[in-house]
Amino acid sequence: MTELIALAFGAFIVQNVILTQFLGICPFLGVSTKRSSALGMGMAVVFVILISSIVTRSLYHFVLVPFEMEYMRTIVFILVIAALVQMVELFLKKVSPSLYKALGIYLPLITTNCAVLGTAIININNNYDFVQMLVYSFFLPLGFLFVIYIFSFLREKINYAPVPKAFQGTPIALITAAILAMIFARFGGIL
């Protein structure tokens, strides 16, 4: 049990997906300008990573390993993630049009979020069993949600700050992200 808690905490803060592993930077910078869209994107990523990790892990152990084609895992995982995102999109469009509208373009963009593929591959590389995989693939995107949400607060504040013209927009966002990453690097001493 303590191992699982350590794994969860590690995935959430210490080995944070954005600020320590540098995965999923594109939506981190692209969708963090508004709090509401940051929250929506984060939740969609949590959902997709959790489902895709379950599917890719099962597919790897029950299809790829028996056929001795582990080297094909990248392309298979991308296929699965793309199809899953498509299905989630169709499902949301019917079941919850309001959430579908709120997420907009960010929903199909999850396909190209490398955090999704990254989680699937980390799960395989670290030989996690099913429960460990579940914990890891839930808390890792939760860390994504947490960081993108606090970053959206910062960016909303930066909008009111007197930023020099050359640094407006993405440059100041990158500098802010770097300072955040330095803060998060200090968590490395905890575990």
């Binding site: 299809v63 298979v76 296929l79 019917k94 049009p97 199909p108």
Partner: protein, 100 residues
């Protein structure tokens, strides 16, 4: 021979996923305005993003909601654009409420 099995397995996975998407599409089909699809089919479909919207579907949606204009599309040819504009005039003229 070694290359054949992975290719077949991959094709199988792709087929199953495609079939699943088809089923999901069938069950969760949402009725859309046919004009939206017509607008999208009249756009070039190159998804260049030069209009500022995410792909041609995004621009078609914006035009449909009145937030976009056909001349935002950069790669469309002049006669196709005028065809789209005349279509928009016809299709949306019916919608304006008649005055009593």
């Amino acid at each position: 021979m070694n290359i054949l099995i992975p290719a077949l397995v991959l094709a199988g996975i792709g087929f199953i996923l495609g079939f699943l998407i088809y089923i999901v599409e069938k069950y969760f089909h949402v009725e859309e305005d046919t004009r939206l699809q017509t607008i999208q089919s009249m756009l070039p479909g190159v998804n260049c993003g030069a209009c500022g919207f995410p792909g041609c579907a995004g621009l078609a949606n914006a035009i449909f909601e009145g937030k976009g204009k056909p001349n935002q599309c950069k790669p469309i040819s002049a006669d196709k654009r005028s065809a789209l504009e005349t279509y928009l005039k016809e299709a949306f003229a019916e919608q304006t409420p008649s005055k009593a």
